[in-house]
């Protein structure tokens, strides 16, 4: 992995075992050399200024406890999926993962904390424990080969493919407890295997289909980990945040915090907070969507992730919330001719139709202002305007799904394995949808906000090349595309 900004340290980084300290890594804080301490360019609120929060985030114990609890919940969900009732909406595994977890993820964790979930996700935890040779403090003699991830695969195309694969099978994955359990176990074992072969969190960074879309939408989150003073990082030759030190592992996500400009691949694991000897890492509060205002680091694979997610939100809204029974059965009947037709249609729609129409909109905008930028660059840059609308589409979809189904949680919590238990006295609670009068209004507000946010983002992206009026002219077709998508989403969700 190339660590942006590492300069002369690159070769050393490439040969240093992941997570292990450099030869001179153990450096007492009292002996630290003085580094440039120009006034920080960061004036945003640093959450680490609060002593209690700082103590909680720097310590490994709270994170370990939450991870262990999450892993226990994960294993209970798997067991319930394998051993509990085969009826999906009465199975604790299905309800915990696809209703409770999904609610928290889409309505709270992702919009407000970005990749915060990744910092406590149980799936990579066993593999990381083996890799570190410890549950708490990483050691030098952990297991695994620590190979570098293949250079050709250092992108999110595999995650895009994995998500697309899960998406076309989602009608079964979301409703069949055993299939959900098998999928969760597959995630777990692939994560363990990847940790034993490759360095650090290669699974999370390059394979996890959930991590792919969390990363995309984490750009909108108002919380970010950034360095306080880049000069301090540049002068710090040890780069303990990337290479690790006695205080902790090098960045598990293969990032060099000194060059971090986007949330996309930062797992918010706090290792850099622990290993920076100059206390130069901040957990900042910032405006929503700040990452989209920077042209740095835009890529085609991420652009396609945006189309895949937006398209999947539309497909899910049609299949799961629409009145079309035949479409539901086609999505459910995996292996049949109608399912192949459905899967092909979905893949063509999210990977062909949506990007194709978008390319047309981008080309029209370029023609209006006689842009000299390469087409690919314009396409990729403007694709980031779809990120806010995509997240809002998922929130709008989830609102309908979640409020209608969350009451399935009460009986399954009391009797997770279908053994006749009544742990919380709710085993016989009946299904009751909530807020059915208000949900369409909430969905409308969310989609209106998503469209406006995307329109502003498209205008800002165009303004990177042109003055404001010309920028608006170039962005207009992209804004029209976003409006068309919004109309479709409203048609599916509230019409």
């Amino acid at each position: 992995m190339t660590a942006p900004g590492l300069g002369v340290s690159k070769r050393l980084v490439a040969t240093t075992p992941a997570g292990m300290g450099s030869p001179s890594g153990r450096q007492g804080r009292a002996e630290l050399p003085q580094l440039p301490s120009a006034p920080s360019t960061e004036s945003r609120l640093d959450l680490l200024r609060w002593p209690l929060l700082r103590a909680v985030l720097r310590s490994r114990w709270p994170q370990l406890l939450v991870r262990v609890a999450a892993l226990a919940g994960f294993l209970v969900a798997v067991l319930a999926g394998l051993l509990g009732t085969p009826v999906g909406n009465h199975n604790f595994g299905i309800v915990l993962v696809w209703i409770a977890w999904w609610t928290i993820m889409m309505l709270v964790a992702l919009p407000f904390f970005g990749r915060g979930w990744c910092s406590i996700c149980p799936i990579p935890v066993p593999g990381e424990w083996l890799q570190h040779g410890a549950l708490l403090n990483p050691r030098r003699d952990g297991m695994g080969f620590r190979r570098a991830w293949p250079a050709r695969l250092k992108n999110i195309w595999l995650q895009n493919g994995a998500f697309s694969g899960v998406a076309v099978c989602s009608a079964v994955v979301l409703t069949q407890p055993r299939i959900t359990a098998v999928v969760l176990l597959a995630f777990l074992f692939v994560a363990i295997g990847t940790s034993l072969i490759y360095e650090r969190r290669a699974f999370c960074r390059y394979l996890c289909p959930v991590g792919g879309f969390i990363g995309l939408y984490s750009q909108l989150a108002p919380v970010a980990i950034r360095v306080k003073n880049k000069a301090t990082c540049a002068a710090h030759t040890d780069k303990s945040c990337y290479r690790g030190s006695a205080d902790g592992a090098g960045c598990p996500w293969l990032l060099y915090p000194g060059a971090l400009t986007k949330n996309t691949y930062c797992g918010m694991c706090m290792e850099c907070v622990r290993t920076c000897p100059y206390d130069n890492i901040a957990v900042t509060l910032r405006p929503f969507g700040a990452d989209l205002r920077s042209p740095a680091g835009r890529r085609l694979d991420e652009a396609f992730k945006g189309f895949i997610m937006l398209g999947a939100a539309m497909v899910y809204s049609a299949v799961m919330l629409g009145p079309w029974g035949d479409l539901k059965m086609a999505a459910y009947d995996i292996g049949s001719a109608r399912w192949f037709a459905y899967a092909l249609g979905v893949l063509v729609f999210i990977n062909g139709v949506l990007p194709g129409l978008f390319l047309g909109a981008v080309s029209a905008g370029r023609a209006l202002v006689a842009s000299t930028q390469p087409v690919k660059r314009s396409f990729v840059s403007f694709a980031y305007a779809l990120v806010p609308l995509g997240l809002m589409a998922w929130i709008a979809f989830s609102l309908s799904f979640v409020f209608a189904s969350i009451s399935y949680l009460w009986p399954t919590m009391s009797d997770p394995f279908g053994l006749g238990w009544d742990l919380f006295g709710t085993a016989h609670a009946s299904w009751q949808p909530y807020l059915t009068r208000s949900v369409p209004t909430m969905q409308a507000i969310v989609l209106v906000g998503g469209f406006a946010w995307s329109a502003v983002t498209a205008h800002r992206i165009a303004a990177e090349e042109h003055e404001q009026r010309m920028a608006l002219r170039q962005a207009a077709p992209v804004i029209a595309y976003c409006f068309l998508i919004t109309v479709c989403l409203m048609g599916l969700l509230i019409a």
Binding site: T41, E42, V87, G88, N89, H90, A171, T175, Q176, A224, R226, T261, K262, R286, D291, R293, S294, A296, V319, M320, L321, G322, P323, W324, G325, K328, M329, Y332, S400, A404, S405, W431, P433, T436, R437, V439, P440, T441, A444, I445, V448, F451, A452, A455, V456, H459, R460, A463, E464, Q468, L472, A475, I479, F483, T486, V487, M490, G491, I494, A495
Partner: protein
């Protein structure tokens, strides 16, 4: 951009949004009638999948299940009915709220049960048109107000 212009535009937007969201819309008043629908339920669909009524209509739904036990719950009205296979069960209510309301199966009937849905349209769907108008207004104001300078990330 001058602060006074921002404030003025924001106020105009707020006023416009208020009008779009809450102003009463003209509509042809239709005399309420009795409407009866026969809805067949089978795995995992209703036929017809969509039914329409006018505001004030007295709606009766005869639910007929053609395979296993199915239910029908009407979003927004909080009323439901359950039909055994081959038997008709009826549900009546006054459609006094306009808009789109989902019909949901209320009895676990198989794997895709949570997604067994239909739709009831009552009168004109003002929410949809108001939302589209608000989206246009919000987009217009957004692109004219948002600062174009870059920000730190």
């Amino acid at each position: 951009m001058k602060r006074s212009r921002v404030i003025t535009t924001a106020l105009v937007f707020a006023l416009g949004a208020g009008v779009v969201a809450f102003a009463p819309l003209p509509g042809a008043s239709v005399k309420p009638a009795n409407r009866r629908f026969r809805v067949e339920a089978s795995s995992f669909k209703y036929a017809p999948a969509t039914i329409k009524a006018n505001v004030g209509d007295h709606v009766t739904i005869d639910l007929v299940s053609t395979d296993v036990v199915h239910g029908l719950y009407v979003d927004g009205y909080d009323v439901s009915v359950t039909a055994d296979p081959g038997r008709t069960a009826s549900l009546s209510f006054v459609a006094n709220r306009a808009g789109m309301f989902r019909l949901r199966c209320s009895v676990t009937c198989g794997a895709m049960h949570p997604f067994m849905l239909g739709k009831l349209h009552v009168g004109r769907n003002d929410l949809l048109w108001r939302a589209l108008a608000l989206a246009l207004l919000a987009g217009l104001v957004g692109v004219s107000l948002a600062p174009m300078r870059g920000v730190r990330t």
